[in-house]
Amino acid sequence: MLFNSYEFIFGFLPVTVVFFFIAGTRSPRLALAWLTVASLFFYAWWRPVNVLIIGPSLAVNYIIARTLLGMSTGGRQPAGARWLLAVGIVFNLAFLGYFKYANFAATVYTDLTGTRFLLEQVILPLGISFITFQKIAFLVDVHSQRIKSFSFGDYCLFVLFFPQLIAGPIVHYREMMPQFHAATCRPNGTDLAVGMTLFVIGLFKKVVLADGVAAYVTPVFAAAASGESVSMFPAWIAAIGFTLQIYFDFSGYSDMALGLARLFGVRLPVNFDSPLKARSIIDFWLRWHITLTRFLTAYIYNPLVMSLTRRRLTRRLPVLGGRQHSPGAFVQLLAGPTLITMLISGAWHGAGYMFILWGLMHGLYLIVNHGWRIYGAPRFAAPGAAGPLWRSGAFLLTFLAVVAAMVVFRAPTPDSAMEIFRGMVGGSGVSLPPHVVARLPSLAGSLSTLSVSSGELERTLVPAFAWIGSLLVIALALPNSLQFTARFEPAIAFKPGPSILPLLRAQALWRPTVPWAAAVVVLAAAVIIRIGGKSEFLYWQF
């Protein structure tokens, strides 16, 4: 069931919330059990067979976690527990591997050997990438004794809680369960107001903003994929437009998840913190899909670096320390693990060459960024590094790097990505629609390469630029939804940084008042009249 569908907004959600509070008057346990059952229904709605696929995986994880819990005695874990944890992780990865990568593996095999390897199309169960990561984190937490007890009911609610079931944020048991246990399960005015506001903001970002700009992005990528050449302006519209589309789509989804959880009195972790405002790629990854970065850092990057550091220290080789890093330590302890982590991140996003290429690009960006910080900045950037010109340059470079990688992320084939890049640098000419050229006669004369085209992509240039300009202003100049509701701790431990613009003084931030409620209703109305077609979230496919 999509969050942006009538059946969710007018059917599932009100029924779930109302019965949750009714059950809460009897006992919180009953209310939480109802929430679990409703979440299962939510998951099954799309394709009931998904439950049959995911159910056994949940059962196996539960048994492994229970066994791990039984094995722990005092501070230490027996050696067997380590093996059992390894079995659990391999089971989850194999499960994900089969459903997500079997088809891709067959394609790679065919490409490499030229022998066709036929495999029946495996259907990807909804949200499997998110669910798998969350279960791995759960097993690791049980093994490390950070989870000291849990009941079957707790486990099911943690795994199935519908606001974050399908596309995150990726949460930890230890940050969720204490909240459920402390929940009164009675209606709370502030929670309901903050929750509805976040939900409506997220819905607006998805349905109006992301789907709105998608109308100009999709035809350009489709043209590039079918081998048409794409002139400069449509190419830029596609590249920047898709970056904005996925930002509003996914951060909108995250806002909705945070809002929905809050209706039940529960906070989720921050997932987006205005990533497009970042002034370095390192900063970008601290603001974009934060819970994924947190997971990859904790469970892939850190263990990798720790084991490599251990090896280098025992061999008395230089490690990352002191004021300068040796090139050997930089390559082995920073560049290598970064590249591996980002390649895994790429593959996690989707089983395909383009996603892996996207991961590779971001891995290389991060290495360059770290290299600059360690070797370049101390030498070249000391004077003026904090000046506005420097900061603007850093922002622009980061933005263009993100946009270039987004082209690769979106394009179905390397050829179509190259077509967009060729267009962006002017390799396929610069064309304007006749009605624009007619109004700008001086421009037509001054640009020798300019051509007039009444092609489909050029026809919509003016509204497309208007959309992209407006979305850029919203993404770059306004506070984000969490800063906007910052007074009411919209996410776990959310502290609005100094990035809130001074022009938005405290009184301009959201409060549960009638004028703000009216504004939210207007946003909601704008959404409701637009919901019609089925528009999936980009991240639901992962």
């Binding site: 501070g75 093994h143 950070r146 904790a298 550091t309 251990r310 220290l313 490690v319 002191g322 302890l333």
Partner: protein, 80 residues
């Protein structure tokens, strides 16, 4: 080893890792309190402390430590 002894080892290891003999740690110190203690040097510090004390932290521990006191407490529980 008691808290103070483990803390003394941690301090010595961090001084080594950051190449800064002026560093002093207490149980409430967090990473942001120590100049130049970034996430890379944090991992180096953790591994160097492991080797020094003959213990091994779990990957979930490394992510969860907030204060130096958290690290000392976990180290002591691993030392038995």
């Amino acid at each position: 080893m008691n808290d103070q002894e483990v803390l003394a080892v941690m301090t010595r290891v961090l001084r080594d890792v950051l190449d800064d003999p002026s560093i002093t740690l207490d149980m409430q110190t967090v990473r942001a309190d120590v100049p130049d203690w970034d996430s890379f040097k944090y991992v180096t510090f953790i591994v160097a402390a492991e080797i020094e004390l003959g213990i091994k932290f779990g990957i979930a521990d490394v992510e969860s430590f907030v204060t130096v006191g958290d690290i000392v407490a976990k180290a002591r529980s691993l030392l038995g």
